[in-house]
């Protein structure tokens, strides 16, 4: 671990000041500290924001949900409003990490977590994300867990978060506070595909702070759920996952929100699947046909070819389970 300074921000203002001077924000620390130990991350100044008043969950005026950036994963998962309005969020959170980590890690930190690509986490390997221009060891290396969607020749790493997949599906908005004031970024624009600059992972400007994630109001009743497919039954990142929310009225699907995880360089929204569902009547055939679009554009690598079919099946399964709910 490289030497660093550590300060606690007593107020949002203090945090922003420290952030402007180059400080890195730390909340639960469950990702950043690991990466510092491996010297993948070498921040010179850490700014502890865990004490800031960003820990509330509330229903917005329009009937959406606003989750403070410092709400712990475990708190968010257990929150009655999250559970009743967006089970997909609770499920995604509860299938993440371990109980200990969920008690520490925050919502803001979760969406900011960095890839599990083992070459990224091994400082002796080539990685464009860690050292731009050094090359991507995963592209022709061991890439079973890597992405098949949104990749570039510079980077094929997945975004590891589960709840971010739910946020992507539900078209959440990320609330930011910076030196120039507040702004809101659609979730789809917040996390960046690698392109030629995989070291740029998100839309945050220097010193900007995530204050909340807002889920828009969606027509009710809304059925939703998350399916995570992985080798091990618990405590593992997704090989594939699917976040699904459906609004069915009069026997017809009026609204469909679908995204996939474990397969994309960012949480992967599936508009083609959504389009195939909207206006249709639920049926097993529909789920299968719609899910076939999940892997549109997939670019598999040597060891992750299976993810293409597995993704379609994962989406189909979750559509069937959610669509078949009474």
């Amino acid at each position: 671990m490289h030497p660093f300074s550590f300060t606690k921000a007593a107020s949002t203002r203090e945090a922003l000041d420290a952030g402007r001077r180059g400080g890195r924000y730390i909340a639960g620390g469950t990702t950043l500290v690991d990466l510092m130990r491996e010297t993948v991350e070498r921040p010179e100044a850490l700014v502890d924001i865990a004490g800031l008043p960003l820990r509330d969950v509330r229903v917005t005026e329009r009937g959406g949900l606003r989750i403070g950036a410092l709400v712990r994963m475990a708190e968010a998962a257990a929150h009655p409003k999250v559970r009743s309005l967006y089970p997909v969020i609770s499920e995604a959170l509860e299938l993440s990490a371990s109980a200990q980590l969920r008690n520490m890690a925050t919502i803001g930190g979760n969406i900011m977590q960095r890839t599990r690509c083992t070459y990224f986490r091994d400082v002796t390997a080539d990685c464009n994300k860690r050292e731009p221009g050094s090359g991507c060891a995963a592209l022709h290396g061991h890439n079973r867990t890597h992405a098949v969607l949104g990749t570039s020749d510079a980077c094929v790493a997945t975004h590891p978060s589960d709840v971010a997949v739910a946020f992507a599906a539900l078209e959440a908005t990320v609330h930011l506070l910076g030196p120039d004031g507040e702004r809101r970024v659609p979730f789809a624009d917040f996390l960046l595909r690698p392109g030629d600059t995989p070291n740029r992972e998100h839309a945050l400007k220097q010193g900007e702070l995530i204050t909340a994630v807002e889920i828009p109001a969606l027509p009710r009743p809304l059925r939703s759920g998350y399916l995570k497919v992985r080798d091990r039954q618990s405590y593992e990142f997704a090989l594939t996952s699917a976040a699904v929310a459906l609004h069915v009225r009069g026997g017809v699907i009026r609204e469909a929100k679908v995204a996939a995880g474990g397969v994309g360089t960012v949480p992967w929204k599936l508009p083609a699947v959504e389009q195939a569902l909207i206006g249709e009547r639920p049926s097993d055939r529909l789920w299968a046909e719609a899910a076939r679009h999940a892997s549109d554009g997939a670019r598999p690598l040597q060891h992750n070819r299976f993810k293409v079919e597995l993704l379609n099946r994962t989406v189909e399964r979750r559509l069937r389970t959610v669509g078949g709910m009474k």
Partner: protein, 731 residues
């Protein structure tokens, strides 16, 4: 002497050291508080083959707290005497910091010693090493194998040619790492020319002898202390380079040095279960009587040592057949040297043989258990010896009954539970437990308590507890009044704590030592006119709860305390011996199991989830049923890992281990471990030890992976011949 009543042996007792462990008072290798200890962190090679061209240590040396950076450029020349009788495989062992050669990715190339762990870690990151890298060879399938070891009986090729039914199957088994919870660690302290080492090891004597050989010291100048070991599974069966590095660092800095391997370093700083490519051809008649088998076995080893394990044995003796031919080739690679891992060799071979037997059963339409019964040998056909005890048939019967085998539909893909396909599978297991010469010392104190010592280890099976049970009964004392000590090379010598050898070997020595002490006490009493036992034949005296009395007449007797007090003896003491198994062997001595698995496989997603496991064991006498059950659970969990999760992945481009951490190298978590049940058949095996035990730590893992693989076939109709079995094979 009269046989002692058995009160502790066979009782389901909890661990005597349980409280120490759960209160954090059991000290593991890195936890010993050694005055003045400084910290060492190894710099590992980032290439797998080549030469070090430069090492720039200036920044590291300037870092506050750093005391010394040692590499081949400034390390002392070390004698590295030969060390015959060690667990070092044939070859030339890795010599730390003796030259500029890099033999595998992660090899220690320097060590940074600092006053704090943080400074040492940071200092290690500041050492700049440059290499002249060569293309490494790390792929078992691409490299040139060494000379084969061969075995043959009959004419296997002709036997196969003439067989009515033939199978020709090739299996790939992944490399597995032990991944004990406790990382390997060493604290080394020199006092003049004497060295004390607190080490994580499964063999204090072996580590002592290796250190003495490396530094060319007399063996008694080195003391190795290892009272608690947080899991081993075989990874502590030899002295690894980091232990030598710690001793070098301590000598160079003239300070006690603590060195703890990071989890990542555990994947190349210690050994592993090698990966295998195993082709098995099997021939049988139409009724399933095996006639011939050929085994072509290739396994990883390092470029500098030739590692072997018992992978050939099951193919020679598990089933009866006239024609067998085997070749076992080690493939030298630019990797570090493998080491035995739970059920070594047998676990790997059993996956192959038992999967193939299941294929044969399916091909013939014979029940897998029935097929095995038809091939049960009446003697060990490789050794031409009778079996001491072999109760595999009973294992099948009990297992089938208790598991509900009759509910298995032999037709694959026939049982469904929602999205899940359900399958049942079974496999047989065998292990040839080790037996090593061992000694122990028992001392009975005037206060009626006793201390028994042997230089063995408790890596988790419960040696402290089970040896206390053995000693307590042999001395006629309660568990509470007996203390068993282990993990110190000053204690009487034993062999390695591995290969399921400890109870048969050390236990026999403990019984012998305790018997001798008890006999001394009895003789003292019966010859003593003041004793109520005066004149009683010594053979008529037993001891219970510290009181000697006439067998069948508890009223006539006296306590150890009164006896020793009257004779003004502070203690009675004796050494016990176990000489090892009789030579030549008169019987084939093995432990057996039948393991059963029920799995659910997601019909479309390919996920395998184990639902139930049962192991039925023929392991001789069970000294400590509660510990034995824990062993079975552990072995089955290990087998689930091998079957479904565990796979050390090497990037063959540069020899790097890609998943050298516990997030990417998957071991089963609680959610992966279903209902596990263990049944040990009652009985004993007196083939070569006084206790009637066979040893059970290995056999509990042998066959588990095959049982799961066979259940996967029953569930899905898919035969997966590559471990681990993952979703992509079942989509």
């Amino acid at each position: 002497m009269s046989p002692q009543p058995q009160a502790a042996v066979g009782a389901p007792l909890s661990r005597v050291d349980g409280r120490l462990k759960v209160t954090g008072k059991a000290l593991y290798a890195a936890e010993h508080d050694i005055d003045g200890a400084v910290h060492a962190v190894i710099v590992d090679a980032s290439i797998a083959r080549g030469r070090i061209t430069s090492i720039d240590t200036r920044d590291a040396e300037k870092h506050p707290g750093v005391l010394r950076v040692i590499s081949h450029r400034n390390a002392p020349e070390l004698p590295y005497r030969d060390n015959s009788g060690s667990n070092n495989p044939p070859g030339r062992r890795l010599r730390v910091f003796q030259d500029d050669r890099v033999l595998f990715h992660g090899q220690p190339v320097a060590v940074v010693v600092a006053t704090t762990l943080e400074a040492a870690q940071h200092g290690a990151g500041l050492v700049k090493v440059e290499y002249d890298a060569e293309k490494p060879s790390t792929d078992l399938h691409e490299a040139e194998p060494g000379k084969p070891t061969a075995y043959a009986r009959g004419d296997a090729d002709a036997g196969l040619r003439d067989a009515a039914v033939r199978l020709d199957l090739t299996y790939q088994l992944a490399r597995n790492h032990h991944n004990p919870m406790e990382p390997h660690a060493t604290i080394a302290r020199w006092d003049g020319d004497r060295l004390t080492v607190w080490d994580k090891t499964q063999w204090v004597m072996g580590t002592r002898d290796e250190i003495a050989a490396v530094f060319d010291l007399p063996a008694d100048a080195v003391r190795v202390v290892s009272p608690f070991v947080g899991g081993g599974f075989g990874s502590g069966l030899r002295c690894w380079p980091h232990t030598i590095v710690a001793a070098v660092a301590a000598r160079e800095t003239k300070r006690p040095v603590k060195l703890v391997l990071g989890r990542r370093q555990m994947y190349f700083g210690t050994g592993f279960r090698p990966s295998y490519a195993y082709r098995l051809r099997l021939g049988s008649d139409r009724r399933g009587r095996l006639t011939a088998a050929t085994h072509e076995i290739d396994a990883e080893t390092s470029s500098y040592e030739t590692f072997t394990e018992g992978v050939m044995a099951p193919g020679q003796m598990l089933y009866s057949m006239p024609h067998v031919s085997q070749t076992y080739r080690q493939v030298p690679l630019d990797v570090n040297t493998p080491i035995w891992m739970r059920g070594p060799g047998f676990a790997s071979a059993s996956f192959v043989i038992e999967s193939a037997m299941d294929e044969l059963a399916h091909r013939l339409g014979v029940d897998p258990i029935e097929l095995r019964r038809r091939n049960e040998p009446s003697e060990d056909e490789a050794k031409n010896l009778p079996f001491s005890t072999r109760r595999l048939r009973e294992c099948y019967t009990v297992g089938a009954r208790e598991f509900g085998w009759d509910r298995r539909n032999p037709r694959p893909r026939a049982t469904r539970d929602g999205d899940w396909l359900i399958g049942l599978g079974m496999a047989a297991g065998v292990y040839d437990p080790g037996r090593f010469p061992a000694q122990a010392r028992a001392r009975l104190h005037a206060d009626g308590t006793a201390v028994v010592e042997a230089a063995t280890t408790d890596m988790g099976p419960g040696t402290y507890t089970s040896q206390t049970q053995v000693a307590a009964d042999a001395l006629g004392l309660t568990m509470r009044t007996v203390t068993f000590r282990l993990g110190d090379s000053l204690y009487p010598q034993t062999g390695p704590h591995g290969g399921s050898s400890t109870m048969a070997s050390v236990g026999s020595a403990v019984v012998d030592a305790c018997d001798r002490v008890r006999r001394q006490a009895i003789e003292l009493a019966v010859e003593d006119e003041e004793s109520p036992l005066h004149g009683v034949p010594a053979d008529e005296v037993v001891v219970r709860n510290g009181r000697l009395h006439v067998r069948g007449n508890p009223a006539r007797g006296e306590t150890y305390r009164s006896l020793l007090a009257r004779h003004d003896r502070s203690h009675l003491e004796a050494r016990g011996d176990y000489a090892g198994p009789p030579t030549p062997q008169r019987e084939s001595y093995n432990a057996y199991n039948a393991t059963f698995a029920e799995v659910a496989v997601d019909a479309t997603l390919g996920l395998v989830r184990v639902r139930r496991m049962l192991g039925v064991y023929d392991a001789g006498r069970i000294i400590s049923p509660k510990l034995a059950e824990s062993q079975a659970i552990g072995g089955i969990v290990g087998g689930i890992g091998t079957a479904l999760l565990e796979h050390t992945v090497t990037d063959h481009r540069d020899g790097r281990i890609v998943n050298a951490n516990l997030a990417d190298y998957l071991v089963p978590v609680n959610a992966d471990v279903p209902e596990v049940r263990a049944i040990y058949l009652d009985g004993e095996d007196n083939a070569g030890n006084a206790l009637g035990v066979k040893g059970l730590g290995e056999v509990v893992q042998v066959g588990v992976a095959a049982a799961i693989g066979n259940a996967v076939f029953n569930a899905t109709g898919r035969r997966v011949r590559e471990l681990p079995i993952t979703a992509e094979a079942l989509l």
